[in-house]
């Protein structure tokens, strides 16, 4: 019997019992639809999470540590032993010499609280802008990407080495009631700003305060206001030495530029960009780790010219004995988390397909009882047992395949509907436009189809085997 004939016969039989076929197929539709919907939620959440981190900037960044770092799920980013290498200005110069490297600078890892004094209704008022990363950048790190992100004002430059200056994100300013909103963030009645919007003019030149909490050695005078004198004698990080106290330090800066943090900066916390030297100054104030005679940096950022070379340069740095982390490591760790999530979601949804399994098996057994005589006829006409078996397995597989096609389509459509609704809400509330919670990948669709057919074939095996084993004489005598 030809394959095409087997399909025609099987599909013809499914068409004969339209209601029963529909009911059985519907079970598969529900099962596969649930799988597609649940797993596509997992994929969508994963994509959203990655896109949250996936600023263009981050793809070209290698973070270098003195020691190798773990990239495993459970202990991501922790030092994994080995003798620490020293990261100092000499090493930075070495890194700069690696072909493909754009800029190298220490990550000073300073976090502070951003505040601005405003005069409102004749009263002086301090607006708190929340936590901010204080990122010291050298001149060569200000790539075209950074230049493009500038909305108003300018960066510092060699000709214009502004003292105590900062470039701040437009969103943070807007949240503090300063300057116009960016597109998608505006409240009703507000006009979003474009590059060079005159409304930022008032912001430029404003003074901002950043308050840092610093661990310094005990015995230092407590913080009073600002510009406390440098603590001496190499204070240590908190947690390492109980002999330290936390001191509050406030620094003042003039806003010289406003930037859009969509593609650059820190993905978690807004970042204020300052000249590297200005950052180092503060670092000296905090002192250096361990108080060794020749201190090193805890982290060095290596900016790569082209994102496609990030991995190559990372391997080069690894080979030199340093610890490195890239965005790829983060994506992989996110992957581990989401593999688990998707597996759990898929397993829960598979219950529907297990129910469908029994439906298919039941339908096939019914079909065989009904067609016992027909099976006898086919045997009398010379059908082999294997051909009878194949006919019923193809029939079961067709139920699975048909159900999966509609189920995948239905799951996709429901997810799409949810996406439209959530996107509408998110945009209405000033969120980004590209939010989608459900995402069906070709792998999910193909995998679900294969799985459904597989389950259906398994469900059809026993009925098909029973059909093939029927005694032709008895089968012909049946009604």
């Amino acid at each position: 019997m030809r394959v095409a004939d087997a399909f025609r016969y099987s599909l013809g039989n499914l068409a004969r019992q339209k209601l029963r076929t529909f009911l059985t197929v519907f079970g598969v539709i529900v099962g596969t639809g649930a799988i597609v919907l649940m797993v596509s939620l997992g994929i969508g959440l994963q994509e959203q999470t990655i896109s949250f981190f996936n600023k263009v900037d981050i793809l070209t960044t290698v973070t270098v540590f003195p020691q190798k770092r773990s990239t495993s799920f459970m202990s991501f980013g922790k030092p994994v032993g080995g003798a620490p290498m020293k990261l100092d200005d000499a090493v930075i110069e070495e890194f700069k010499a690696i072909p493909g490297v754009q800029a190298v600078f220490p990550n000073l890892n300073l976090n502070g609280r951003l505040m601005i004094d405003k005069v409102e209704d004749g009263k002086k008022k301090t607006v708190n802008g929340g936590f901010i990363v204080y990122l010291g950048l050298p001149q060569d790190a200000l790539t075209p990407l950074y230049r493009d992100a500038l909305l108003a004002g300018n960066y510092w430059s060699e000709e214009n080495p502004a003292e105590h200056c900062a470039v701040v994100p437009a969103d943070t300013l807007y949240d503090m009631g300063l300057g116009p909103p960016l597109a998608g963030k505006q409240k009703p009645g507000e006009t979003p700003a474009a590059k060079g919007d005159p409304r930022w003019k008032d912001v430029l030149g404003l003074e901002v305060k950043i308050q840092f909490n610093m661990a310094v050695a005990k015995g230092e005078p407590p913080a009073k206001g600002e510009d406390e004198k440098d603590p001496e004698g190499g204070p240590k990080d908190p947690g390492e030495d109980p002999e330290t106290v936390t001191k509050r330090v406030t620094k003042r800066f003039k806003i010289i530029g406003v930037y859009d943090s969509a593609n650059i900066g820190n993905p978690f916390v807004p970042a204020v960009f300052v000249p590297l030297e200005q950052g180092k100054e503060l670092m000296k104030m905090r002192g250096t780790r361990g108080g060794t005679a020749e201190p090193g940096y805890q982290q060095v950022m290596v900016k790569v010219k082209d994102a496609s070379r990030t991995d190559e340069i990372r391997r080069e740095l690894d080979a030199r004995g340093y610890g490195t982390l890239t965005f790829q490591d983060v994506v992989e760790v996110i992957g581990y988390v989401f593999v688990t999530l998707k597996a759990v979601l898929g397993a829960v949804a598979s219950i529907g397909l297990i129910v469908a399994f029994f439906g298919i098996a039941n339908t096939m057994i019914m079909a065989i009882l009904e067609r016992t005589r027909e099976i006898g006829i086919m045997k009398a006409l010379g059908a082999r047992n294997s051909e009878i078996r194949r006919l019923f397995i193809v029939e079961a597989a067709a139920i699975g395949g048909l159900g999966a096609l509609f189920g995948i389509g239905g799951g996709w459509a429901i997810g799409k509907g949810f996406n439209l609704v959530t996107a509408w809400f998110v945009v209405k509330r000033g969120g980004p436009e590209n939010v989608h919670l459900f995402s069906v990948s070709p792998w999910l669709a193909g995998g679900t189809l294969t799985f459904a057919i597989f389950v259906a074939v398994i469900a059809g095996l026993y009925p098909a085997w029973r059909a093939s084993r029927l005694d032709p004489v008895a089968a012909l005598r049946s009604l």
């Binding site: 019997m1 045997k379 010379g382």
Partner: protein
């Protein structure tokens, strides 16, 4: 076709029923061979064994040198597909298929390409006089028409032997006559036909030779001039 000591014993509950008891027979090519007997005489069992649908408890059947009694399931399927054509009292057409599709069925199992089997099936339906009704389903055909479709189907693979089990049992006498005539015509064209019936006058009228079975044994054989009770009867 040579049968030696052919025996078929069924188990019915706790009792053993001997449907065929040590049957010895030889049937020549081109014969119109009849088997008559009352119900329960073993004539259907005889036909099922000859058609490779049933397996013997003891004894041998040899058709064209092939020992059916030693054949595997697949070999028996091949034998049914290539060597025999069945005609049943109940017609046994597949209800969901048209007359044409029913006639094509044996050709489907024989892997004949669609165009070729369609042509062959149309020829056969024309031959049994049902050319214009080929698109009809069995429920839309009369009993006689259904049986003629079944005869066309039995001939699809050009079998060596036609096995007809009470082919006229469900037909009125006029229709029965036309079906019988069709079988006689097939036989005149060289087709071996084995006809099982309870209707002794019909067997006498159409068969070149017939036997009468009772309790699984040959009671009379028309080839033996003076009917003799078989040993032990």
């Amino acid at each position: 076709m040579i049968l030696r000591g052919l025996t078929r014993v069924y188990r019915m509950g706790d009792a053993l029923v001997t449907a065929l008891d040590r049957l010895d027979l030889e049937i020549g090519r081109g014969a119109f061979f009849g088997v008559v007997g009352r119900s329960g005489s073993g004539k259907s069992t005889f036909l099922n064994l000859l058609g490779g649908l049933d397996t013997a408890s003891a004894g041998t059947i040899e058709v064209d040198g092939m020992a059916l009694t030693a054949a595997s399931q697949d070999a028996l399927a091949k034998y049914r597909r290539e060597k025999v054509g069945f005609i049943f009292q109940q017609f046994n057409l597949i209800q969901s298929m048209s007359a044409l599709q029913n006639v094509e069925m044996p050709l489907v199992f024989a892997n004949v390409p669609p165009a070729e089997r369609r042509k062959r099936a149309e020829e056969l339906l024309d031959r049994v006089g049902l050319g214009p009704r080929r698109k009809h389903r069995p429920t839309e055909l009369s009993g006689g028409e259904q049986q003629r479709v079944a005869i066309a189907r039995s001939l699809a693979n050009r079998p060596a032997i036609l096995l007809a089990d009470e082919p006229t049992g469900n037909l009125d006498s006029a229709t029965a006559a036309s079906v019988t005539e069709l079988l006689k015509q097939m036989n005149r064209e060289g087709q071996t036909v084995i006809l099982v019936t309870h209707d002794r006058p019909m067997a006498e009228a159409v068969c070149s030779r017939f036997i009468e079975l009772r309790d699984g044994r040959v009671l009379t054989d028309s080839a033996v001039p003076v009917p003799q009770p078989t040993t032990g009867a």
